[in-house]
Amino acid sequence: LPLLNQSPHAYKTLLRITGSVAIAVTIAGGLILMLVFAKSVDHKFQELRSTGQDNTVWTANQLEVDILRLQSVILSALAENSTEASLEQIRLRFDILYSRVGIVTRGVVGRDVAWVNTQQKFLEDLNIFLARSTPLIDATDPVLAASLTEMAQDVAQLHSQVRSFTMDVLHFFNEEADHQRDEIALVQSRLFLSVMLVSAIMLILIASLIWQMRRQRTAQAQLEQVAHFDDVTGLPNRTLFGRQLRAQLKDLSGRRKTEIFALVYIDLDNFKEVNDRFGHATGDQYLKKIGDRLKALVGMRGMPARLSGDEFVLLIRDITRPDKDQPIFKDLRHSLSTPVTIASVQIPVSASIGVTLHHPRDDIDADQLLRQADAAMYSAKRAGKNCITFFDSALERTLQAQSELIARFNQAIDTDELVLHYQPKVDILAQRVLGVEALLRWNHPEKGLLPPSQFLDIISLDAALLDKLTDWVLTRAIAQTAQLEITGLPLQVSVNVTISNHREAHSCALERLTSWPVRHPEITTGRILLEILESNVITDLEMMGSAMQTARQAGARFSLDDFGTGYSSLSYLKSLPLDEIKIDKSFVLDMLEVEDSRRIIMAILRLAEAFDLPVIAEGVETEAHAEMLLSLGCTRMQGFFVARPMPLSALIVWLAAKQSWISPAESPKN
């Protein structure tokens, strides 16, 4: 059972890394933007703060003080008759005033004062006073003393002006302060808006990123869903289950060293019937319900999966004891035998269940384990279906024997150990040989001549081998028919073919059906009659019918083998282009004793008559059989009473004895 390889996580990782980087870049970019902005705003604040408006107002006030003090010392000197000390005080106060005027007219304060436009006249007067007084201040004491009266008048004049200067400066800078406060408020509101804007952009970016990542993750999840889950049941498919199983095995070899787990293989026995009776929609619902049951049954303990068609697998962890009486298996049996109700119709459930228990000491891979469970399931199926079988050493031996047989048989085809025996089919009443049925024999070097019953079931497990065998049989039968024709015995040869290996998809069966006439053009002569087992007819009759029609138009002829043993649906006769119906030997063998078998044969005969189909009875072993069949109206027979299966050489001899039964003129029925 091929299990899909694991898909890499590289893409997911890449996506995650890209996302992280994008978010980091966005945040870093936002922060840098904020920093740059904050820096510029801070700079603006610094600028506003450094304008020394308080300084200017203070300096203006100091100017007023300085003028007042100069005035005061001049008046004192005048009152004290200009003592040396009082003149020295005048010189000091004059220098201080001079210095102050320098401050008021230069530098930052000078620029501020220049804005106060109303006081240019005062500043001019001030400078004129300083210029006129400087020589007097620097002159000798008597000269300075002589000019004091005039200087006092000048200073008084300045004193009368300075108040208004101070007030103007004060008012101007109060207004200026208001203006600056407004500006700061504006900057602050801009800052706030910008922060909001940057934050919003960052938020949008991050949100969109997250959204995109989530969307990608959802897309990823959907892809995963499609790739790993079954549409009908919503259960994991073969791929995901295989991965899980391998993980479980790896886990066991790792940390859960003592845990036993069970692998369960489930095949629904009656799914084909459900589909036939209720249609595909109901069939799907049926599968879904079974899937739900399995899911509910294992819960967190394991994992159910649907492998194909009506096949499920189940992984059950934490099996405490390696025995078969565990409640979980009883529950499993119960849930797979309780009818399902769909649209108020009760549909019975029947399943063949195979279980293999995995012990930690087992050195086994996932595929081997699945094969074991599969073998156990087959064993359950052979044991009569609707039961549970555990894989054990006997089964293991069987499995071993099977794979050895398959390998050996493969070899047998290549080394020509297979032979065809032929059993004549005759019409007793018309005394005619209708043809021969080619029967496979394996001329085993050790075990002698083996009939198909000893190996065909096992060979059928391997579809490729079965195809190879069918091709071999057809090739050989066609070749030997040609040989018969050369010897003047033109006979129709029946070949048993298997069109459907029940594990395959129907499309494979249909493809096989149409492929034979293409691969063996000799079929087109109409001398090859392909015998299909009734149990081999696939569910989709319409598809099968059209495929058979295609093959028939290419010259192939069809016989429905073992009629009466399977579902024997009337629609088979209606839908399939048949050339012959073969009554199963089981009815013939006990029809003398069992009334029902006789009735079935009568029914089949009447049915075939209605469809205008020739009927041949198999297993005619005695004269009594032949007489009974004749009395029922069946003239075509095959069996030991007529002739045993024989090699080609013996057949030629037998045919020679029945020369009159062969009509060379009559070609096989078309």
Partner: protein, 185 residues
């Protein structure tokens, strides 16, 4: 003039002695220098003076341009917010003055109260004084700073050097017309 010249000689020889002396002798030499500084009392002289008072001992020292010029000189070339030009100011670092006066600069709550001729007053804490600023400037472009332009003594910082020196606090501390320093520690 004579007194000043004599003082200059004294200080010069003392400085010579200090620079050659070992630590202990250096201390002694400093004491001599201090004594000499203290001993010169000339309140009536025309030379501009800063009266330094060390509050711990009550001693007074008078600093003139001449006495200051004997300490290591420093220059700043900078603009100021009170002038329109970039000028070169020369003077002595306040740090050097305090060191010369053996003031413990690490003293907690140490401070200097500066007073100006126009009664402006600032208090400067020791922690605000470092090895490169401020300085007591008395020369501008190699000429003495006259009283009519912030002279003769002006406490200034190298404003153009760093934005740390362009704060309102520093501007307020930049006292001119200095007449006295009360050193409290």
């Amino acid at each position: 003039v004579e007194i000043s010249r004599a003082l200059k000689t004294h200080i010069g020889s003392a400085k010579y002695a200090i620079s050659r002396a070992r630590p202990l002798e250096r201390m002694a030499a400093l004491a001599v220098l201090l004594l000499m500084l203290v001993s010169i009392k000339s309140p009536a002289i025309a030379d501009p003076t800063i009266t330094v008072t060390l509050s711990a001992t009550g001693t007074q020292v008078h600093l003139t341009r001449d006495t200051l010029q004997d300490l290591p000189m420093t220059t700043y070339t900078t603009s100021t917010v009170w002038t329109d030009t970039v000028d070169t100011y020369a003077g002595v670092l306040l740090y050097d003055v305090l060191k010369t006066l053996s003031v413990d600069m690490a003293a907690q709550n140490g401070q200097i109260v500066f007073k100006a001729a126009d009664d402006y007053q600032v208090i400067l804490r020791f922690v605000d004084i470092d090895k490169t600023a401020p300085m007591i400037a008395f020369l501008r472009n190699d000429a003495v700073i006259p009283p009519r332009t912030q002279g003769p003594f002006w406490l200034i910082w190298p404003y153009d050097l760093s934005s740390h020196y362009r704060t309102e606090t520093i501007y307020a501390h930049s006292i001119w017309h200095i007449v006295s320093m009360d050193i409290e520690f």
